[in-house]
């Protein structure tokens, strides 16, 4: 077992990003801003994952021009890439739906464009 990763700036930045994005998700009624919030949430989580991949003294696992020494296991980087790819798909789908919502209701406010309730 490796020792716990010390709390440092990347984690604080990730927490800040997640916090800001939750603020956006809760208080911003503009659907485009909501999607931006989800994008920021994704960035926060990705930053968290990438920060986990850092190990003191480890080398980046790139086989060209690598210095001598141990390499880190690139699992968190792989996770982050997968998560980024998924988020591209999710954001594209959400934006398309917002375009359609705007076409149907002429509004991108989450309260005014709502039809279904109760």
């Amino acid at each position: 077992m490796m020792e716990h990763v010390p709390l440092n700036f990347p984690f604080l930045a990730a927490a800040l990003l997640v916090g800001i994005s939750f603020y956006i998700l809760i208080f911003k009624r503009n659907l485009i801003k909501l999607i931006m919030g989800i994008g920021m949430l994704a960035s926060g989580v990705n930053l968290f994952l990438v920060a986990l991949g850092y190990r003191a003294g480890g080398n980046a696992p790139i086989y060209t021009d690598v210095p001598e020494g141990p390499m880190v296991l690139p699992v968190p980087q792989a996770l982050t890439l997968t998560s980024i790819v998924i988020n591209v798909a999710v954001l594209a789908l959400m934006l398309t739906m917002v375009i359609l919502i705007y076409r149907h209701t002429g509004n991108i406010d989450s309260k005014k464009s709502r039809i279904l309730k109760g």
């Binding site: 790139i62 060209t64 210095p67 594209a92 398309t96 375009i99 359609l100």
Partner: protein
């Protein structure tokens, strides 16, 4: 449609963007990058064309049907490569040791050997094809959508 300067510059730049994207795809198993990243670089070129020319112009050269076939074949090549190793295991790297991308990479400082990685470079190309087609379709559809048109069936 933007001015002639922008259009000419875009016409020249797209070549470099394409080359850079292909470079990122081809070196995906050696350096950071790969199919998705290189594909995204190429699609950024498509976006540039979309800005320089209008979406209607671009629709003529990028047909939805062609993109759909490209995307499907990219995914099929990927899954086919995964299936090809099923004699041993799904996703088994059956090309290791063969002349095609089969060399064992050396550790330590070295300039990198392109003929390594087994099926991974091939999968990178498949993913690149899929990403280029898929993201171009997404971008084009959105541009057409917001200008009030539909992408043709």
């Amino acid at each position: 449609m933007l001015s002639k300067i922008v259009r000419t510059a875009a016409n020249q730049l797209i070549l470099f963007i394409l080359i850079f994207g292909l470079y990122v795809i081809a070196h995906g198993h050696l350096t950071p990058g790969g199919g998705f990243q290189g594909g995204a670089v190429i699609v950024s070129g498509v976006v540039m064309l979309l800005v320089a020319f209008s979406s209607k112009e671009l629709k003529k050269s990028l047909r939805e049907r062609t993109l759909s076939v490209m995307e499907s074949s990219g995914a099929l090549i990927f899954i086919g490569l995964a299936f090809a190793g099923i004699g041993i295991a799904f996703f088994y790297n059956f090309l290791v040791g063969t002349p095609i991308f089969g060399r064992i990479p050396v550790t330590g400082p070295n300039p990198g050997d392109i003929w390594t990685g087994g099926v991974i470079p091939l999968m990178n190309f498949a993913v690149g094809l899929k990403v280029v087609a898929g993201l171009s379709a997404v971008v084009l559809a959105m541009a057409l959508f917001s200008s009030g048109e539909e992408i043709e069936e």
